[in-house]
């Protein structure tokens, strides 16, 4: 059977939804791409028992090289750099052609660089283009959050960071709250760091699968805060994030108007002017362009810009 070769990973691609899948469960990983999430995250860490770490890697290698995941990005969560497992995890990820590696419990830039060095060595060992494999960091502790900017800028391979609520709440001695009060400061600090570093920022997963109302409330919150996407644990969580992150027809129409008029105004030598009763200047123009770009990526733009 022909080995699957995945296209070169794109650091800035859409990552609205990143769904966890246990790399050790064949029944799950073979169907992962049909759900329509932007990225899947095959897990070698917490989902895999300590005595099955080896078996999970064999499954992962064959899944990566024989299952065609199409446009779905394939990220692998490796074991922590404080374990004896992560180096072999890196080897199998690179050899199998994973798009990226998620570093769990990341607290320092040095950890990122340690993984990067192992990734580069593996790329050379397996004849993979050096620099192909992307990295992202899961921030799961107060120290990780405090060091978020250094972590996000520790390597050119960094696509972004994600907060992991479970471990974070444990280290803060708090439980999950409906309004997110226990974790919102960390979310905001991580967002600032990620934006400052120019990388993407993903929210934690929502564990209460049957609480639809609570889930929607959390998605609404993180969309308004400015997150690029969210970690998920179930396919039924995908649709609402995609719906909330897609620009609305009203936003798109307004953005089109701004982009068009701004081009005309700039040609006429005007910097600030009014569209639909609202002041418009260069920052609005940039935002309007971003909305159009996002609408295109989300498949909801049908104009000609």
């Amino acid at each position: 059977m022909a080995k699957i070769t995945r296209p070169k990973p794109n650091k800035d691609r859409l990552r609205r939804t990143m769904m966890f899948m246990n790399a050790q469960r064949p029944g799950l990983i073979k169907d992962a791409y049909i759900y329509g999430c932007d990225s899947i995250m095959l897990d070698l860490e917490d989902a895999v028992a300590v005595n099955q770490k080896d078996a999970a890697r064999f499954s992962l290698y064959h899944a990566l090289t024989t299952i065609d995941y199409g446009d779905t990005e394939v990220i692998v969560r490796i074991n922590g750099t404080d374990t004896e497992y992560w180096q072999e995890d890196v080897r199998v990820c690179v050899a199998g052609g994973a798009d990226g590696i998620r570093i769990p419990k990341c607290e320092t830039a040095a950890q990122v660089q340690e993984v990067e060095a192992a990734v580069e060595a593996a790329e050379k060992e397996f004849g993979v283009e050096v620099g192909r494999t992307l990295l992202m960091a899961a921030l799961e502790s107060p120290l990780g959050i405090m060091n978020a900017y250094e972590i996000c800028t520790a390597s050119d391979r960094m696509l972004g960071c994600a907060i992991s609520g479970g471990d974070f709440r444990t280290s803060m001695h708090v439980q999950i709250e409906p309004d997110g009060i226990e974790i919102n400061t960390a979310r905001a600090m991580m967002l600032l760091a990620a934006r400052a570093a120019g990388v993407q920022c993903l929210d934690t997963m929502y564990p209460n699968l049957d609480d639809e109302e609570g889930y929607r409330q959390e998605v609404d919150l993180i969309v308004r805060m400015g997150f690029d996407g969210k970690s998920l644990i179930n396919p039924k969580q995908i649709a609402y994030v995609h719906e909330r992150l897609a620009p609305t027809p009203k936003q798109i129409a307004h953005s089109e108007k701004i982009v068009r008029s701004c081009r005309e105004q700039a040609d006429a030598g005007v910097g600030v002017y009014v569209v639909d009763g609202k002041m418009v200047d260069p920052p609005f123009f940039k935002e309007a362009e971003r909305i159009i770009e996002l609408a295109k990526k989300c498949g909801v733009y049908h104009g000609d810009l």
Binding site: K3, K53, A55, F58, T66, Q87, F126
Partner: protein, 99 residues
């Protein structure tokens, strides 16, 4: 590789296969599957090819198949063989004997 001791990999969950290997003088493959009539030959061929790539020429290899895809079957056979040699945890020849 030579199967040095009894080792097992995989589960009896749906879409999985449980593979047990143990030392023996000759190579013997025993397959139990709910889909043996349709896929028995293909399962055997996959197991044989995988053992061949690993250079396993002797041993008793028993497979309890629960509707595993080829890629899962390969992974379970390989893991069982590497476990039987206490070599499953690091420096796996990804893309070499494993492909």
């Amino acid at each position: 590789m030579v199967i040095e001791k009894t080792a097992m990999a995989g589960t009896l969950e749906s879409s999985d296969a449980q593979v047990t290997v143990s030392p023996a003088d000759a190579l013997e493959i025993v397959i139990e599957s709910s889909v043996i009539n349709q896929y028995g030959r293909q399962i055997k061929a996959t197991v044989e090819e995988t053992l061949d790539r690993l250079g396993v020429t002797t041993g008793l290899v028993s497979v309890v198949d629960k509707g595993a895809l080829d890629c899962t079957l390969k992974a379970r056979v390989e893991c069982a063989v590497f476990r039987s040699c206490d070599a499953s945890m690091s420096n796996i020849p990804w893309g070499g004997a494993i492909q």
